[in-house]
């Protein structure tokens, strides 16, 4: 008996997508291999059952009449052609508009501090097309604001932006329920996440009250999970940091400057009931950064989901 084909070929066979040579080979094989024949028949049966079932549901939820009724109410198609304009309307006016926008930008927004916003502002930006918020797939680049008291479920890879006196950003990979418990506390619960690649002047991680600095170059990340041991993959972490997640307390402080003076803090801690809580600490006597924080602009295009998934 011929060797069994790759299971993928059986899937292609059921869908009629095999080339003629491979199709002939699979057909001959199925005449003699009961296991593959049963597998192919099961796939085909599922396909037909799903098609019939969903088609039946679709038949009861058709919208064609409503669609045409709506169109007939106002059967105008928007004309894509624009009326003829003179050269000065086509070139000069848009240019003037651009200059006006630039002037407004310079005089109304003189410094990056104007964009810092409030301490309460937290947003999540999907970093690939496979991330979901509240069970619905988000598009890459789509941004979601977290506002108290709403809860949000995240699954995938997100750029988390905390806009505060000292803004910071980190990448979250995995799954978690997120909520803003009060204006200064972000709570991750039922979480299996990795945090990595941040932005800001400096980032400090404290594990069980022991502070460990993360530098921009280190590219370190930690996994937080109720089932797995906290695993630090950065060479600069000491062994004492690797503890079970149930007892670990992780604090992430966003620092005001390279001297690592604690200013605005984002604190994350895992308690024994598997909750990760963060809080943003208001600033006192911080030094202003020399330049504004540069936003990470989608650097993680279409990367696979992290180990936390």
């Amino acid at each position: 008996m011929m060797k069994c084909p790759e299971k993928e070929n059986l899937s292609l066979y059921v869908d009629g997508e095999l080339e003629s040579k491979e199709l002939a080979e699979v057909r001959v094989h199925l005449e003699t291999c009961a296991a593959c024949r049963k597998e192919a028949e099961s796939m085909a049966f599922d396909t037909v059952a799903l098609r019939e079932g969903i088609t039946s549901v679709f038949a009861q939820h058709r919208m064609s009449d409503r669609i045409m009724c709506e169109i007939r109410k106002s059967p105008q198609i928007i004309n894509s052609e624009t009326p003829a304009t003179s050269w000065w309307q086509r070139i000069l006016l848009p240019s003037l508009a651009l200059v006006l926008v630039l002037i407004m930008f310079v005089f109304l927004y003189p410094s990056a501090q104007k964009f810092q916003g409030s301490v309460n502002s937290v947003s999540f930006q999907a970093l690939n097309n496979e991330s979901a918020v509240d069970g619905v797939t988000a598009l890459m680049g789509q941004r979601f604001q977290l506002q108290s008291p709403a809860k949000m479920s995240l699954a995938g890879r997100f750029l988390v932006s905390i806009v505060a006196e000292q803004p910071s950003e980190f990448v979250l990979t995995g799954k978690a329920m997120v909520s803003l418990a009060d204006p200064t506390q972000i709570v991750f619960s039922n979480a299996m996440i990795e945090l990595s690649r941040y932005n800001g002047k400096g980032l400090q991680v404290v594990v069980n009250d022991k502070a460990v600095p993360l530098t921009v170059d280190a590219n370190c990340y930690q996994s937080f999970s109720s089932k797995e041991t906290v695993d630090t993959k950065c060479a600069s972490f000491t062994e004492s940091i690797a503890r079970s997640a149930e007892s670990a307390s992780i604090t992430i402080d966003v620092l005001a400057d390279d001297k690592q003076q604690a200013a605005t803090g984002i604190i994350a801690s895992i308690s024994q009931n598997n909750r990760i809580a963060t809080e943003v600490v208001p600033v006192e006597n911080i030094e202003q950064p020399a330049s504004g924080v540069d936003h990470i602009t989608n650097p993680f295009v279409d990367q696979p989901l992290g180990a936390g998934n």
Partner: protein, 191 residues
Amino acid sequence: MSKQEKSDIELVQLVLAGEVELFAELVERYEKLVFSFLLSRLNEMQEVEDIVQDTFVRAFRHLATFDCERKFAAWLVTIARNLLIDSRRKAGRSIASSELVTDVLLLDSSKEDKTQPADILIRRERFRSIILMIQELPEELKTPFLLRVVNELPYQEISEILTLPLQTVKNRIFKARGLLREKRENYDEMP
């Protein structure tokens, strides 16, 4: 020439020339495809219906901007996807007042009709046993799988509609089947 013989492009051009009623033919051809696409991405049936309707109404209003080099189905899916983004920005609807997609799929398939032949009843029972498993599949697997299964689209066309490489479409449909088989085996093993 009958309506069925006209290509999508011919229909678009006739509609643009004023034969508005011919748009119904395009709706007839692609409503199920848009429905299947949205079914895999939304939890509430009302929202599926609303976005299906809005997709076609918007396609009609902007028909003059349709690029005839593209597939009409791919353009519709793009519109549906953008409307999904818009709907996320709006205030949330009350979940209590809207049927969940999963509930609708199970309820509609459980309606007994004793006049149906036995093989149809058997397939309906199979549908009910696997539809929950399908709904649990990851979005990236569910969409191409449903487009293939429900709409019987060739893989090449699915890859053009979802703007995915052909091999990715093959892999995802294969993975969806694999996961479905695993779930079914685990389900069958339960006492």
